[in-house]
């Protein structure tokens, strides 16, 4: 029998629909794979064995009765542990939520359950999604399946690594400044940040509410489109949710074609600061797109150079406010100092013990940026820069249908390499942050290898035009796979046993 873990979600769905394979077999194959490799990868914080098998057996039963089922019914999925799930723990990668169970499901989780997609478990992340390497998880780092000594990106390193290591065909991530796309880039997988408001944020533990967005993490562009259609669409529980229909994303991915498509190369997101191998794969991708009939033009977004700075004012400001709720009263950890302490002392001790260094840094930075006397100079100025970035996008999209850049400036770095240098860590997100600042959608697709490690290529589209990402992304994927003779992940090394 074929190895079920090697199939794409679309392929697996076909075999399930035709009843060539049962959902229980599909789920069990992935649970077995998790058992084999996750000691080395540490992608999962919680494995949801019993419930996943139960849902799978229900799917098999209903299918045998000839009931109409969702096309992805029985296709298993992993969920980033920032997204709340009833019946399973949710930690956000933090000690402050250790052992906490959400009393409700996130809207995206409810939609997975409605589609009868078994949830394999919860994936590792940087604490409260703050980081670019998954090293800031309170539960130990996740390792990159391409090289176990390297980072899988972050904050959604667990979801990307799980998909790259064939532990799950699909996963959910969240992207505030690149946390879906950058892990996708460095693990050779596909990640999509939808238009802000295109997928409900209800039940995604908030980091920076005006930037956060849930999206798909997969191995193929078509799989991302399939998953995006499951989770997307209006949700009255999220007041920032768009009322637009999701759009024909799967159709766009199936009709991949760049003939006549105007692709804008962002002048400011390449060259200096970008690793040679990354730049080389990027240039090759542009050549392929040109040969396939795309109209490749250069666009300039001069204010993108201020995006990182503005992001590191807006994001911590919103995060410091969002994380005020971890007060040792309503949920999670409570640390009580000796004596008869007041609530103030309990809060101070609880938050000192429950939060890790990066979270503390960002809370302090946000508190600073929002404090009296600095508000206008910092937070206010950053919001103005946000306007300038939006204007750059508006101008660029008059010249091009989609924009293109490398997803991340480098390939996966070594574990520990940037852990003591927050600023160097922040630079990983230089190419992904502008999309969050402007609310526009972005996708990262595998672009090949540099020194044996994956490189990501990013497409960006105007707000509400997510379908263009799937059209362009799937076209580039097909062009590149022709040159590789198959998917990039087929070149990944076998994962050895425990480390």
């Amino acid at each position: 029998m074929t190895d079920l873990t090697r199939l794409s979600a679309a392929q697996l769905a076909e075999k399930l629909t035709s009843r060539e394979v049962s959902a229980v077999e599909a789920v069990q194959a992935h649970l077995d794979r998790i058992g084999e490799v996750d000691r080395a990868i540490n992608a999962f914080l919680h494995v949801n064995t019993d419930e996943a098998l139960l849902v799978a057996s229900e799917v098999d039963k209903e299918r045998s009765l000839g009931d109409a089922m969702h096309p992805l019914a029985g296709v298993p999925i992993a969920v980033k542990d920032l997204i709340v799930t009833k019946g399973q723990p949710t930690t956000a990668g933090s000690k402050i939520l250790e052992g906490w169970h959400s009393p409700y499901d996130a809207t995206v989780v409810r939609r997975l359950r409605d589609a009868k997609m078994p949830i394999l478990g919860k994936t590792n992340l940087d604490e409260f999604a703050m980081g670019s390497s998954t090293e800031h998880s309170a539960y130990g780092p996740t390792r990159n399946p391409w090289d176990l000594d390297r980072i899988p990106g972050g904050s959604g390193g667990g979801s990307a690594a799980a998909v790259a290591a064939f532990e799950a065909p699909l996963a959910l991530g969240t992207d505030t400044g690149g946390s879906i796309r950058q892990p996708g880039a460095v693990t050779g997988t596909v990640g999509v940040k939808p238009t802000y408001g295109g997928v409900s944020r209800y039940g995604a533990i908030a980091m920076a509410s005006s930037l956060d967005q849930i999206g798909p993490v997969t191995r193929t562009v078509l799989d991302s489109a399939l998953l995006h259609e499951v989770i997307g669409g209006h949700d009255p529980h999220d007041s920032t949710s768009l009322t637009d229909p999701v759009g024909a994303l799967v159709e766009a991915a199936r009709n991949a074609d760049v003939k006549g498509l105007r692709i804008g190369v962002i002048k400011e997101l390449q060259g200096e600061g970008y690793q040679d191998g990354v730049q080389a794969r990027f240039t090759e991708a542009l050549d392929l797109l040109r040969q396939a009939g795309a109209d490749v033009v250069e666009v300039s977004c001069p204010n993108f150079r201020y995006a990182l700075g503005a992001y590191y004012l807006i994001m911590p400001s919103e995060a410091s406010s969002n994380l005020a709720k971890y007060d040792g009263v309503r949920f999670g950890l409570r640390v009580v100092p000796d004596g008869a302490p007041t609530i103030e002392r309990v809060m101070g001790a609880t938050r000192a013990a429950g939060f890790g260094d990066e979270v503390k840094r960002r809370i302090i930075l946000g508190t600073y940026a929002l404090s009296a006397g600095y508000y206008d100079a910092y937070y206010g100025s950053a919001q103005k820069v946000r306007t300038l970035i939006q204007r750059d996008f508006d101008a660029a999209f008059t010249q091009a249908d989609v924009l293109i850049s490398p997803t991340a400036p480098t390939t996966a770095f070594k574990l520990g390499e940037k852990l003591d240098d927050p600023l160097a860590m922040y630079l990983n997100d230089v190419a992904t942050i502008p999309a969050n600042m402007a609310g526009v959608p972005g996708i990262s697709v595998p672009g090949g290898l540099a020194d044996g490690l994956p490189v990501g290529i990013q497409f960006l589209a105007p707000a509400r035009q997510d379908a263009r990402l799937y059209r362009a992304g799937a076209a580039l994927e097909a062009l590149l796979e022709d040159t590789w003779g198959g998917p990039l992940l087929a070149q990944a090394p076998e994962i050895g046993g425990g480390k």
């Binding site: 005006s210 768009l242 009263v329 309503r330 609530i343 302090i364 930075l365 820069v385």
Partner: protein, 98 residues
């Protein structure tokens, strides 16, 4: 922009309700100075004529339909709390000596 001092960080930590050791305050002061230094150009970019953007895709007048929906039960709402009594969150003393 003024330098960020150890006293500033201590004050901010108090505001944010995070106890910090002397060693942590020293380290955080150094790290924050570097970060703040790298982002201070942001305040010099945009002039007064540029409006602020607080939300990437503004929506207005978002209301849900005025119908009774499902809500959490009292038990569910309290289920994750470290302490509760009489169907309520139990909070440590607010004032000293009580």
């Amino acid at each position: 922009m003024p330098e960020i001092t150890r006293e500033d960080v201590a004050h901010l930590a108090r505001l944010a309700h995070i106890d910090m050791s002397a060693e942590e305050l020293d380290r955080m002061t150094g790290e924050l100075s570097v970060i703040v230094d790298s982002i201070k150009t942001v305040s010099e970019v945009a002039g007064d004529d540029v409006p602020a953007t607080s939300h990437p895709i503004p929506l207005s007048n978002v209301y849900r339909d005025d119908v009774i929906g499902e809500t959490l039960s009292n038990e569910e709402a309290l289920s994750g709390a470290p302490d509760n009594a009489d169907g309520r969150f139990k909070v440590p003393a607010i004032l000293d000596g009580e």
